[in-house]
């Protein structure tokens, strides 16, 4: 800095011509406004605009990552006793093994020194999937006793669908630990990984604890869900007629109960379904047919015990065990 000061003094004495010479030869470290910065920043911004943001890197390739500690914390976080070996196996996907082997082969070292001694999670995943399917089916049957088997299947299908499982797995922090070939882990890989985690839990802590795990993390996704969001029924009236004939109840008669604004752009009709002169259900709609369909859906919900104001599902902690779930497990 002192030299800069002295040189500046010298520059003042030499005049403008001398200043230019001095700048080029000697003054490389003068503190001044960095005039190259603007051009550089603009270039970088242009580059970012042309190339787009850089691809995301997996968390395991960033700083501060200890895989063992992470896996251990994962198992404690879920309040489960995983065997860590099994849990680590559950996170290794076949696609990762494939990609890793290809990468090692491309390095040109002989295959014996670079052999991968890892087992993939295919078996665990299969096991977890079977258990999830059977447990959730039993749980649904126990929680909604009057729901027919198609309804149970569609509820279980919704709970075990790729999107729901991937959402649960993402929010449980599984995607950081998952070893996958692609970086934002695809939904199918997350699905199989989560199933493998369930399989690992079943092997290390038994079926009962796995049942509670599934109840707490998967079945709780049913909260606030409507039955017909999960179960597509094209003709609810036909289904209602079928159900009523099964139960020996006289067939429903649709009647227009109320209407308002019939000649406006926002008409409203209320259709009630009467069976044996008793009101089964009523539903609103913009047209009479829509209202009738809605009324049939309301009646079906009442029949199946899946109304909005039903008793909440039992998610009480493990100490006060629910007889329904115990029976579901023993089934």
């Amino acid at each position: 800095m002192a030299s800069g000061y002295l040189l500046n003094r010298g520059v003042l004495a030499l005049g403008i011509h001398g200043q230019r010479v001095c700048r080029n030869v000697l003054l490389t470290q003068v503190r001044e406004k960095k005039r190259w910065m603007k051009a550089y920043k603009l270039l970088m911004a242009k580059k970012l605009k042309l190339e787009g943001p850089p691809p995301p890197t997996p968390r395991s390739q960033k700083l501060n990552w200890n895989y063992h500690a992470e896996v251990q914390a994962f198992s404690i976080r879920l309040h489960e006793n995983f065997s860590l070996e099994l849990l680590k196996t559950a996170f290794i996907n076949p696609c990762y093994l494939h990609a890793e082997q290809e990468k090692r082969q491309s390095l040109g070292v002989d295959s014996e020194t670079t052999a991968l001694n890892l087992k993939d999670n295919t078996q665990l995943s299969q096991k977890g999937e079977d258990f999830t399917q059977s447990f959730l089916t039993d749980w649904c049957r126990a929680s909604f006793p009057s729901l027919p088997s198609e309804g149970v299947d569609s509820v279980v299908g919704h709970l075990t669908s790729c999107a729901v499982i991937a959402h649960v797995a993402r929010n449980l922090g599984t995607d950081d630990l998952t070893m996958s070939a692609e970086c934002p882990v695809p939904e199918s890989v997350l699905h199989s990984t989560f199933m493998a985690v369930i399989g690992a839990l079943q092997e290390s802590s038994g079926a009962e604890r796995t049942g509670f795990f599934l109840r707490d993390f998967l079945a709780s996704q049913l909260i606030g869900k409507d039955l017909f969001d999960m179960w597509t029924v094209v003709n609810p009236m036909g289904l209602l007629v079928e159900e009523l004939t099964k139960r020996n109840i006289p067939l429903p008669e649709p009647r227009l109960i109320r209407s308002a604004g019939a000649s406006t752009v926002l008409p409203l009709y209320f259709v009630g379904l009467y069976s044996d002169k008793k009101l089964l259900a009523q539903g609103p709609g913009e047209t009479v047919f829509a209202a009738e369909e809605e009324a049939a859906r309301v009646a079906l919900r009442k029949l199946y015990g899946y109304t909005e104001n039903r008793r909440p599902l039992d998610f009480s902690p493990q100490q006060h065990q629910n007889p329904l779930i115990q029976s579901a497990i023993s089934n």
Partner: protein, 151 residues
């Protein structure tokens, strides 16, 4: 800006947390500080006194301590839903930092914005939603079941 213009959300939790069991939402914490810096004095104190206790008390959180030449010491918290939150701890004392860590441990990782209502329910009404025809006797209505049907 007025309250209506600010971003807002409804009260919710990640994955219905607490319905079956409570899961601490803080995944990992990295404490980034300088070994010599003036502003890192408090966090160095905290690392000597409190960080081991914190890690023992919270086995669900992975704690990384990384000394590196930096002017601004900070705590980077990563939550289960993928949120990464940085807190700058320049010139903070050790008790202040442990208070901050306790706060971060209890947070859920959802964005901190105005919450529209301090309560939430998934089944808003036991009796069914109100509409203009609720509790209206059917006899007043213009449309009623025909006489021959009701017999």
């Amino acid at each position: 800006m007025t309250a209506r213009g600010t971003p807002s959300r409804f009260l919710k939790s990640v994955l219905q947390n607490g319905v079956g069991r409570y899961v601490c939402q803080l995944k990992r914490i990295s404490i980034i500080f300088s070994k010599k810096g003036q502003g890192s004095l408090g966090i160095r104190d905290f690392i000597e006194e409190g960080v081991v206790d914190y890690a023992k008390k919270n086995p669900t959180t992975v704690v990384y301590v990384s000394p590196q030449p930096c002017r601004i010491p900070k705590i980077v918290a990563e939550y289960m839903n993928g949120t990464v939150r940085e807190e700058i701890v320049t010139n903070k004392t050790s008790p202040q930092i442990s208070e901050l860590l306790a706060k971060m441990t209890n947070q859920s990782g959802l964005d901190i914005i105005r919450i529209r209502k301090p309560f939430h329910t998934d089944s808003p009404s036991i009796q069914g939603q109100w509409h203009p025809f609720t509790n209206r006797p059917p006899s007043i209505d213009p449309i009623r079941p025909k006489k021959e049907d009701s017999q």
